[in-house]
């Protein structure tokens, strides 16, 4: 990974003073993850270029990670692009190698840091979500932006370009301090990968670096969200190895439907707001006070459940506990059992519901268990109501018989609420092509007729009555975005 900074300011070699690095020497510095080398490929009075070469040690990166989370990485942790790409490692190296310049101090020439300089920056290479992103991030700050693309594999032209770009930035007059700060914040944002060395305080430092210009940046939402990923990133190595590259369950537990449906990044921002108080002010500036479809759905289910005044309620596929939270607010519900197949989702639910700090009486009202709707489970017997909110479509159709047997044959709650997307409605989503599902992990999405046929047959086979309800605003011809089947046991 290489970063070069060139200037034609006269004398150009003043760059050496600014960076506090002698142009006549190659200097090596120990940095997080490896070594940084600072040298000057050219250093004349007309033009001077400083280079920061980051030489990450791929083996050391892995070995350095001690403790529980350091064990058992998935293989991609060993073979990855980190040694070649500008990432948060580069930010760390920048602040170490050019710390004085970033702080705007220069002992030898105190006036120099305030000086706007003509500067050219090259980064080989950056990783970006798309070719437009370097411009979207840097142009608002007054840079002229150029990129060179790289094919993913020149021997396989049909694969097209890779996500790697050589980035060229030019500015006619800017303080070096500002350039370094922009790079410090924006390079990891472009890269959007995990850097295991960034802790919470480091994230705050990043915020501090961006405090001056970030609030005015048109992409501040994107920038904020992206670098907070470091904090939210929670890797379960045990699971990841089995996932064969599948999205980890934290993603799947909070249905990505919201993204499709609202087209905004709003739920992630909510997460942001919750996950870091330090960021709250910034995040709220972009937060739209709008209830997502998923939340509406949960409220409707919760409302239907209250109407029954049940004593014992099951949330099957409780995810991170949004419905559980609504149910807990109803004091008449004596006991709530939340079950999910994802251990991680349960851990997050416990965290979000503050299970550990719950007062003892309240605590006895709720239990969280790992379980699967495909296995008979006697813990599920004896409930007045069960909710399966957006669960069935995550199962292969040939496993629905098992779910049916577990829920309606064995557990037999007095009432069962099953919600699932309404495929008829999908045509209204601009981002969905015909035949596409709202979520990668959906194994099917049913039309209203298909859902009704299934629900009626299930009810018939197991002695339930069923009624079907649309969820969300009805649109003529296609119905509501989601649909719910409300089952009632006949002898209940």
């Amino acid at each position: 990974m290489l970063l070069t900074i060139s200037t034609t300011y006269q004398p150009a070699t003043d760059l050496g003073y600014l960076l506090h690095k002698n142009p006549a020497r190659l200097q090596s510095i120990e940095v997080a993850g490896g070594q940084a080398h600072v040298f000057y490929p050219e250093a004349t009075a007309e033009r001077c270029t400083a280079a920061l070469l980051l030489d990450l040690d791929p083996i050391g990166l892995v070995r350095g990670r001690g403790g529980a989370s350091g064990e058992g990485f998935a293989l991609e942790q060993y073979v990855n692009d980190r040694p070649y790409v500008a990432s948060s490692f580069l930010s760390a190296a920048l602040s170490k190698a050019f710390g004085t310049a970033m702080n705007g101090t220069c002992k030898d020439k105190p006036g120099l840091p305030a000086q706007a300089l003509p500067l050219a920056v090259k980064v080989a290479v950056v990783s970006a979500p798309g070719p437009d992103w370097p411009s979207r991030l840097f142009e608002p700050l007054g840079y002229e932006v150029d990129i060179e693309t790289t094919p993913l594999d020149p021997t396989v032209p049909e694969w097209g370009d890779s996500r790697y770009y050589t980035l060229h930035l030019r500015h006619t007059g800017l303080r070096l301090q500002d350039v370094l700060t922009h790079l410090y914040v924006l390079l990891p944002v472009l890269d959007n990968d995990k850097h295991y060395y960034i802790g919470e305080h480091e994230a705050e430092k990043l915020l501090h670096r961006g405090g001056d210009w970030l609030p005015q940046h048109p992409e501040r939402g994107f920038i904020t969200r992206r670098y907070l990923r470091y904090l939210a990133a929670y890797v379960n190595p045990t699971l990841e190895r089995l996932m064969e590259g599948e999205v980890s369950s934290v993603d799947s537990a909070s249905p990505r439907m919201d993204e499709v449906e609202s087209g905004s990044a709003e739920p992630v921002q909510q997460q942001v707001a919750e996950s870091n108080d330090a960021m709250r002010g910034l995040a709220e500036s972009t937060l739209q006070p709008k209830t997502s479809l998923h939340d509406q759905r949960l409220q409707q289910v919760a409302h239907e459940i209250y109407q029954l005044s049940p004593k014992r309620v099951l949330d099957l596929g409780c995810g991170e506990g949004k419905l559980l939270r609504l149910l807990l607010r109803q004091p008449k519900i004596e006991y709530i059992l939340g079950m999910d197949v994802s251990h991680q989702a349960l851990a997050r639910a416990a965290q979000r519901l503050h299970l550990d700090e719950m007062p003892p009486r309240q605590r006895t009202r709720l239990d969280l268990i790992q379980g699967s709707l495909l296995y008979r489970d006697e813990r599920l017997a004896g409930f007045d109501a069960a909710a399966l909110v957006e669960v069935i479509e995550h199962l292969d159709p040939n496993r629905l018989a098992a779910l049916e047997a577990v829920v309606f044959g064995q557990a037999r709650p007095a009432h069962v609420f099953v919600t699932t997307p309404n495929a008829d409605y999908n045509q209204l989503f601009e981002k969905l092509n015909a035949g596409e599902f709202r979520h990668d992990d959906h194994r099917f999405e049913w039309s209203r007729a298909e859902f009704a046929a299934w629900a009626t047959a299930v009810a018939e086979r197991h002695g339930y009555q069923v009624r079907l309800v649309g969820m969300g605003e009805e649109v003529a011809g296609v119905g509501a975005p989601s649909q719910m089947a409300v089952f009632m046991k006949k002898d209940a």
């Binding site: 060993y78 790697y164 045990t238 064969e244 251990h343 296995y375």
Partner: protein, 935 residues
């Protein structure tokens, strides 16, 4: 002279009753094992630090009851050392005994107050107890004595003074009547006869019994000495000396033999052999030849034409030790009638009574004695076999209580009445999970079918069905058809199928071919897979699955894996060789050869490693085969799945085409006929790697190369300028960067070799390397050369789809051959090959120190760039990478191998899905253990 021993049943709850100071603790310590005694004082001590703290009594007794319950649940004799002088104290104990079907025994230690007082006075901690305490204890005791029997005590020993107490020198533990664990068989277990004498004769003869009917000479003596029927049981077949040919015989699966079975060789000679080795079980005199033994499951009488004759035959066999018999509900009803009880004469009892009418009184009283002496059920063959008329749940086996007897006779009904006016039976077998096989009758069924290791052998002979016997341990069914319909059943024999048909017309269309076990297997229980699991395997004593591993596996199994019925087997992980010390290499075949040689393996098989995706193929000859064997309906003729149980294919059309073509290849090769099967399970590699891993290749492997090849030339350029400026150290950095650039180029070459576009079926190649299983057998007993040859022949049937794996057999004692094999590897890897797998010649390799690694992989230098990164050979990198440890990986490989083999063997033996799934789930769970994935 007072008696010096007390008799108690070997499994009983002994409740000592006596006032404080009566000497209960001393008595208990003297006559029972310390662990058998649960004392209220000790419990008080545990919950209160003070054995005399009466305020702790409530908690102490809760603990005492808990301990008693745990011991009784586990079938252990238990002595309760507490005063127990009040009924309210004894009541919960009697209830516990009932709950666990254990006999309650009372031992009353009745000593005069003075003695008790004096003893208490000796003890500082009890000195303060007033006289009135002892007096009131004694009074309560006296009152209790007359009620003990009513309270439910089956044995009451009242020791009336110190002398009687001290005289007891031992406790005689009587074994329970149902405990016949030392009888190991072999047995012929016969279902409900109901007076069908001709069919019974025919069945016994078919089983090899010789029956002689003789005229009874002395009419007066008849019931007692001569029943007029003599039966000689067949000799136990001598084990043949030559090992069975596994290809010609199906093992494990029950086979209905309607031909004469005795001439057939039994497939499980091992069972018979172990019987011989273990001895006869005590009833056969030394030197006498071993004979089989019949077991009658009860309901000998009623409805049929010749109940007295059936009784005669069975009584004669039981008397001379050639049969055992458990009572059926009809037999017991007859007994009650014979005992003069008022019973309703229905359900065929009238016929029996009419048939008995002309019989002499002596015979009738002999029948009465016989029926009265029948024991509700038997536990046989070291606990591996249980017989009871209506079956028996695991908790009740080997226990004695009224509830056990009632269950064994009648089973349990749900309380509902079906459309025929008969009680709906609770199908205990559906939930049966016990270790013992249970053979039972009582409920007539059209076919004797296995369900969770239980089998109902009542095939309704008297209703015109068949009389069926189960040969144990062979698990063969032998049956004779009824000569006629003797009685019209109230409920048709096949009412269940009829019911299903009526209820779900659609389902019933598919239903034939799926069995009760298949249906039962539709729903697995979470308890079988979650929490800490301990799985017994044939190859290793037991494999433990940690709870957190099971947690990860549950999610993967539920969200991504195929229907569990497809998952017969998951392959074990494979360890690499130990690290080579040779320059520029991490792995080299020499270490693999050394490993096996060191552990006593004489020859190995080296197989070229294909760089594809490891898959397991389960394929039926047609959909019907999958339905019959796996119980999967409408799911096609097969599946190809990955190491974690996911479907390999995401494109259904490609999947269908692939499977059809593979099936056709097997048909062309004559595979189905040759292996006498309609399904197969193969272990294979599916190529190219990019077929499944396309996304991974693009997002990870190609991406890394793209990033490296874009960045490094620019770094080189900058360093070249710096070198021109003669900056100190720039040259060295430049050299290093150039080396990294080259490494990145090699790396790109390496991954590209294993990728080619898949546009159609023709681009996929399957390289099978293990023939794992076909109907009725696995091939773990075949060596790897056999597997290679068998599959090579198979590959010839469709060379463009199937790829034979190049291999060579290497005798490790021959240095030239070893050298040649190393050269082979060197050539393979130099040409870009992934490397090779070294396997011991035997599939299941046993060596010094037990089970050996089933295979070791030895990967090529270039290939390892994909695993260890482009730069792994750079100075400073390789040295550190050599510090790897293969121990954990090998340990894992062994456990996964043992589980994989176990699961498939269980499947082939026809065990319930949960038993197979447990192993498959275990492999998946172990795969989540933290082991360096680069190994």
């Amino acid at each position: 002279m007072p008696q010096d021993t007390l008799k108690v049943p070997e499994l009983s709850l002994i409740i000592l009753i006596g006032s404080t100071g009566a000497g209960k603790s001393t008595f208990a310590r003297r006559l029972f094992k310390p662990t058998e005694i649960v004392s209220s004082d000790a419990c008080r001590g545990l919950v209160a630090d003070d054995e005399n703290d009466q305020s702790a009594s409530k908690d102490a007794f809760e603990l005492l009851h808990y301990l008693v319950a745990k011991r009784l649940k586990r079938g252990l004799l238990t002595v309760v050392d507490a005063t127990n002088v009040q009924e309210e104290g004894r009541k919960p104990l009697v209830a516990l005994a009932r709950q666990y079907h254990v006999l309650p025994v009372a031992i009353v230690l009745d000593v005069p107050d003075a003695v008790a007082q004096e003893r208490n006075a000796q003890r500082p901690d009890r000195r303060h107890l007033g006289r009135h305490v002892i007096a009131s204890h004694r009074q309560q005791l006296r009152r209790s004595l007359r009620n003990l029997k009513q309270e439910g005590f089956r044995h009451i020993h009242h020791l009336r003074n110190v002398g009687e107490i001290d005289a007891i020198q031992s406790i005689t533990r009587d074994r329970l009547y149902n405990n016949r664990q030392e009888e190991t068989g072999p047995f012929d277990i016969i279902g409900d006869v109901h007076g069908c004498y001709e069919e019974l004769r025919a069945l016994l003869e078919k089983l090899g019994y010789q029956i002689t009917e003789e005229p009874i000479t002395d009419v007066r003596d008849l019931g007692v000495r001569d029943l007029g029927v003599r039966v000689v049981a067949p000799l136990v077949a001598q084990p043949s000396t030559s090992p069975p040919d596994p290809l010609s015989k199906k093992e494990g699966a029950p086979v209905l033999l309607l031909t004469d079975s005795t001439t057939e060789e039994s497939p499980s000679r091992t069972g018979a052999l172990s019987f011989l080795e273990r001895g006869s079980g005590g009833e056969v005199a030394p030197g006498e030849p071993l004979r089989r033994k019949a077991i009658f499951l009860g309901d000998l009488v009623d409805r049929g034409p010749a109940s007295p004759q059936v009784l005669r035959l069975v009584m004669s066999m039981v008397r001379d030790g050639s049969a055992l018999c458990v009572p059926g509900n009809h037999d017991i009803k007859l007994l009650r009638h014979l005992n003069g009880k008022n019973v309703t004469v229905n359900h065929g009892l009238a016929e029996t009574l009419a048939q008995l009418e002309p019989e002499p009184e002596a015979f009738k009283s002999e029948v009465r004695r016989f029926l009265d002496g029948l024991v509700s059920h038997y536990v046989l063959d070291g606990g591996k076999l249980v017989v009871a008329h209506a079956g028996l749940t695991e908790e009740m086996q080997g226990r004695g209580s009224g509830a056990v007897r009632a269950f064994a006779l009648f089973g349990e009904s749900t309380g509902e009445i079906d459309e025929f006016g008969l009680p709906v039976r609770y199908e205990w077998a559906r939930e049966y999970r016990g270790r013992a096989m249970v053979a039972f009758g009582h409920t007539p069924v059209p076919e004797a079918e296995w369900l969770n290791n239980t089998i109902d052998l009542d095939t309704g002979c008297v209703f015109g069905g068949r009389l069926t016997a189960l040969r144990y341990p062979e698990r063969e069914l032998v049956a004779v058809p009824a000569a006629q319909v003797y009685s019209e059943p109230v409920r048709p024999l096949n009412y269940r199928a009829l019911q299903a048909q009526a209820q779900h017309e659609l389902a019933a269309e598919n239903a034939p071919g799926t069995t009760a076990q298949h249906e039962n297997d539709d729903l697995l229980d979470i308890r079988d897979v979650t929490g800490k699991q301990f799985i017994e395997t044939r190859l290793m004593r037991g494999v433990t699955i940690r709870e957190d591993n099971a947690v990860a596996a549950l999610e993967v199994m539920s969200r991504f894996a195929l229907h569990p019925k497809w998952l017969l087997y998951l392959p074990p992980t494979m360890s690499p060789t130990e690290t080579s010390a040779l320059p520029d290499l991490l792995e080299h075949p020499a270490e693999a050869f050394d490993y096996y040689k060191r552990l006593g393996v004489e020859r190995v098989v080296c197989e070229e490693k294909h760089m594809g995706s490891r898959v397991v193929v389960v394929l039926g000859r047609d959909e019907a085969a999958i339905q019959r064997r796996l119980g999967l309906v409408g799911e096609g003729i097969g599946k190809v799945y990955t190491r974690t149980g996911r479907n390999f294919f995401t494109d259904a059309a490609l999947e269908t085409a692939f499977l059809a073509r593979l099936r056709d290849a097997l048909s062309t090769a004559g595979f189905w006929e040759k292996f006498d099967t309609d399904w197969v399970c193969l272990d294979a590699e599916l190529l190219p790697w990019s077929a499944k891993a396309q996304e991974l290749v693009k997002t990870q492997y190609a991406a890394v190369a793209a990033a490296a090849l874009a960045a490094l030339p620019q770094v080189e350029a900058a360093l070249t300028e710096a070198t021109a400026r003669q900056l100190d150290g720039a040259e060295a950095l430049l050299a290093r960067t150039t080396a990294r650039h080259q490494a990145a180029a090699h790396y790109a070459d390496a991954y590209r070799r294993y990728c080619w576009p898949v546009h159609s079926l023709d681009d996929l190649k399957l390289a099978p390397f293990h023939l794992l299983a076909t109907e009725g057998r696995t091939y773990f007993d075949r060596d790897h050369a056999w597997h290679m040859e068998t599959l090579r022949t198979l590959a010839l049937a469709d060379p463009s789809l199937l790829r034979a794996t190049p291999y060579r057999v290497v005798p490790l004692t021959n240095p030239a051959e070893v050298e040649a094999a190393i050269q082979w590897w060197t050539d393979l890897t130099a040409a870009g090959g992934e490397g090779m797998v070294v396997k011991p010649y035997d599939f299941i390799p046993q060596g010094k120190g037990g089970l050996l690694q089933p295979a070791l992989k030895c990967r090529g230098r270039e290939y390892l760039r994909i695993i260890y990164g482009p730069d792994y050979l750079l100075p400073g990198h390789l040295d550190r990478l050599r510090q790897r440890n293969v121990k954990a990986k090998r340990n894992l490989a062994l456990r996964e191998f043992a589980l994989g083999v176990e699961g498939l063997e269980r499947f082939v033996a026809g065990q319930p899905l949960r038993r197979v799934h447990q192993c498959v789930f275990g492999v998946l769970a172990l795969e989540s253990e933290a082991v360096d994935p680069r190994l």
